[in-house]
Each structure stands twice: as C-alpha cells, then as structure tokens.
C-alpha cells in the first residue's frame, strides 16, 4: 500500500495521471530537477501487470536513478539477453543486452526481469520517499482554461476533487486518459491491433543453466504466432502466447484450454521446457493493445509511454519507452516551467517529435522482423550486426537514427505496408 499524503500543498506545478512506471519515472526525473509532482492512481498497489522484461537501456536508467542496489536486494533475475527459437525448436538466434561505451564500442551489460507488482510498487514508493505525493482516486476529467489544460478532476473516496496544475502528464498507460477525454488526437489502431496475448505464471519450467537462467526466451511458430518465457524468480516464470485474435476465437477453447493447448504445440523447444509446470496465477488476456495517438502534447499537457502509443510486446520495449520518454518529458517540463511557456500552442513539440521518431524506429524493426524474418536474421547476424544491436540498446532517437539498417528496413517495408489504419471506435 502506498502512503497517501493528506495535507496537500496546492497547487502543484505538475499532476501525473497514473502510478505505473511511466508515472513513477516521470516523477523521479522531475524530482531530480527539483519539481515535486502529484500522482493520481486508481489502483491499490501491489497489483498484477505484465511487461516484466526490461531492455538494457532501462537497466541503465535504473542505475542512473540510484536504484541498482534496491533491485539487487529484491533478487530480480538478471537478464543477459534474449534467445529467439525458430519454428523447428532447434535453430536459435541470440540478442545480447548491450550498451555503447563512451568510445562507441559495444559492450555486454545486464538488465533485470521484474515482477511488475513489486517493481511498480517499489518505483512509486521511491518517488514518494523522494518527495512526490500520491492521491488515490480515479482521474475523471480535465480542467481547462482558454484552450489549455490547467488541472485534473478526480473521483476520490471523499468525492470529486479538483487539482489545478500548470502541466498535466498523462501516464495512464493503455487507459489513454487524455485520448479518451478528447484532449489529444483520437486513438488509432496499430499494426498489431488484431493480436491477442494469453498469459499466466508457472512453476516448474526448465531454464537454461548457469547465468543464462534469467534470460528471456522467445519461441516463434509462424508469422504473428509466438510465445514468451520470462523468469521472474528462482521458481516462477511468466509464460504467454500471442496469436491473431481470430485464431483464438475460432479454436472454440476457453482461455485456459487455449493456453495449455498452445504451450503444447506452438514450438517443440517450448513444450520440452514445460513438461512439469503448475500455474500460479489465473490465465489472463490482453487484446486491442496496439494503437497510437497523435497530437499527444499541447498547451498544459503531455503524454508519456503507453498513454500515446504501444506497438507490440515481442522485444520488451514497453518499459523502455516509459523510462526514456519520462526522462525527456521531465527535462522538457523543467524548461517549460522555467520559461512560463506552458500555455503556448505547442510547448512540447520537440519532445513529441522525438518520441514519435523513436517509437517509429522500433515499430519498423518489429514490422521488419515479422515481414522479413530471414533478412532480419541476416542483418542481426551478419550484415548490420552493430546497427541492430544499437536498436536493442536504445539508440533509437535522432542522434543515431535512421541508421543504414533502418533505412533498408523502411525501403523494403514500403513494398508491403498497407494504408494507415482507421481510428478506434
């Protein structure tokens, strides 16, 4: 349970909708700039969440925030990389967790697999311990003044309360609060909108030996049919399958039956690891998770992470974007507050363009992986090894992209891409 601060100092310069990683990272970076935000979170923590595998870049950000010792104390599994199994269960390719040194050379590093219930609570508690305030309540609507967002109306146990602010940050994740309010552009369908994820946690899954025990495993079956295997503790593993929604609905099976069925037949290497498992969580599903929102910043507001875009979970970029965008948003908010420009037409235009740029690079990498799996392997193993590793190491922004590899991907994808999707109803 996160402690609430009942003696609220009004008004806060920054109010953040949400209490997940995008919200907590934004708060932690704002606090580094001397800005004490107020966070509004509906759920009681800890609460279940998927998205447990972190990229190397997130590991770096956690270290930058001084959280490495705390994470080590929680004994989250150490991730050295990702092994992707081909359809036959024999052929694999390895994507190590890498970072660029100051001299530009690539070097191995590690990151963590996190139990999101614990991790999210830890981040939020750390933000509170460092000076943020949390209000438990449901974000209801925005306050506006002369076309600018100037606060948040919240349903709390005490009733409807108003929290005026200079900047409202939407870090509500897939709830996309500001898009639902009509403040941003509409929520538009993404490329993987028709996929469904069905997942749970198990004990008894067989891992790789030694230090490889904490690594992520991805099992490929065919285009858009795959499974994840993410170690969460000494004994527990997150297991999920992702398939086209139509494949699931036409099977006539319940979610439990479907998951067990797919775990038996999706990939022989996966099946071999799951001979003696027991489920430790209910089977859950996620669908309609691929979307994007345009015009996600404006006078008095800014969106961070999943609240404006989510593509596909295959390469674990969810928390990566939350953490990176939080850092960039906090710096932009600091400048906007210092200059008093929050009511101007486009105070966060540069932040928005940078976010879109980075998200598009990763969308292109993921699209290319699915459309041209052989060419992707060729690039990852032979022709563009360093540039592909760069993408996974978080070098997705204008200082480093578009690399020759990403330009090649875009040229090849242009032949198969369909026109832009329609807005979500």
């Amino acid at each position: 349970m996160i402690a609430e601060n009942r003696s609220l100092p009004f008004p806060h310069d920054v109010v953040i909708v949400g209490g997940g990683p995008a919200a907590s990272f934004t708060a932690l970076f704002l606090l580094q700039h001397g800005i004490r935000p107020l966070l509004v979170e509906r759920d009681s923590f800890p609460r279940f969440h998927i998205g447990e595998s972190l990229t190397g870049e997130v590991g770096g950000i956690l270290r930058e925030l001084g959280l490495e010792a705390d994470l080590a104390a929680r004994q989250f599994p150490i991730k050295h990389g990702v092994t992707v199994y081909g359809a036959n269960g024999i052929n694999t390719f390895w994507v190590p967790v890498m970072r660029r040194q100051h001299d530009g050379d690539l070097t191995s590093t590690t990151t963590w697999q996190v139990r999101r219930d614990e991790f999210d609570q830890f981040l939020l508690e750390t933000a509170v311990a460092r000076g943020a305030t949390v209000v438990k309540g449901d974000a209801d609507s925005v306050l506006r003044e002369e076309g600018a967002v100037c606060g948040l109306r919240v349903k709390t146990a005490e009733g409807l309360q108003e929290f005026p602010c200079r900047i409202l940050v939407d870090a509500s994740g897939q709830k996309t609060f500001l898009a639902n309010q009509g403040v941003t552009g509409p929520k538009e369908r993404g490329s993987y909108e028709k996929q469904v994820g069905i997942f749970s946690r198990v004990t008894g899954a067989v891992r790789d030996p030694g230090e490889a025990a904490g690594n992520t495993l991805i099992f490929y079956q065919e285009k858009h049919h795959w499974s994840w295997f993410i170690p969460l503790s000494e004994t527990e593993t997150s297991i999920g399958v992702v398939v086209p929604g139509e494949h699931f609905s036409q099977s006539g099976k319940s979610t439990e039956e479907f998951l067990e069925w797919k775990l038996r037949n999706l990939n022989p290497a996966l099946t071999a690891r799951l001979q003696h498992i027991e489920f430790t969580e209910p089977v859950r599903t996620a669908s309609n998770y691929s979307y994007h929102v345009r015009n996600f910043t404006g006078p008095g507001f800014v969106c961070v992470g999943d609240s404006h875009r989510f593509t596909d979970p295959i390469f674990s970029f969810g928390v990566f974007f939350s953490a990176n965008e939080a850092k960039m948003a906090a710096a932009a908010i600091r400048d906007v507050l210092a200059n008093g420009t929050e009511r101007e037409a486009d105070p966060f235009a540069e932040y928005e363009a940078t976010c879109d740029f980075g998200q598009q690079v990763i969308q292109d990498v993921i699209d290319f992986f699915w459309e041209y799996p052989l060419a992707f392997q060729m690039m990852a193993h032979k022709s563009h090894k360093g540039e592909i590793t760069d993408c996974f190491a978080g070098r997705v922004y204008p200082a480093h992209q578009p690399s020759e590899a990403v330009q090649t991907m875009r040229r090849m994808l242009a032949r198969v891409r369909t026109p832009q999707p329609e807005p979500v109803a």
Binding site: N91, L374, H381, R411, M412
Partner: protein, 90 residues
Amino acid sequence: MSTAHHLSILDALCRANPACDRTRIIETTPLLDEGLLDSLQIVTLIGELESSLGCQIPLDEVLPDNFQHLTAIGALVDRCLPTNSAPSAT
C-alpha cells in the same frame, strides 16, 4: 545453372548444414520443407555462397522462395553474380 555452380552450391549447402546427405539431394529437393535448411543455416549458406562464388546477395533477395531448392538457389546466385547484379540493399 551451370554444373560447376550446382556443385559449388551443394558444397556450400553441406557446409551450412553438415547433416545434409549430398547423395540424396537433387535440384528440386524441398530444402526448407524437409528441414535441410533453417533460417540460421541460410545466413551461413549466404556467407558460403558469397565467398565461394563471388556473388553478393542483397537483403531484398533473402526471402524463403529463393532457398526452396537448389534450382532456386542457383537462379539467385546467377542474378547476384557481379556481371548481373542489380543495385544492392546492403
């Protein structure tokens, strides 16, 4: 595809996948469907073809259809020899 190319491609295939029995592989043996060539072995095969035959296979050509059987690989090699090569994606 010339006989010389055929033999070089077969050699390259057997280096990429040492489990291949070259006496059982003919021009139209379905290499992918019979599990004689998987995706990582294709990456190895491309390197072998490029070094032994002097071709340059662009990423645009790294498609499953071009590795279905020896005939398809031979046609790919012919297209990618220096005298015939189109502008490369790499």
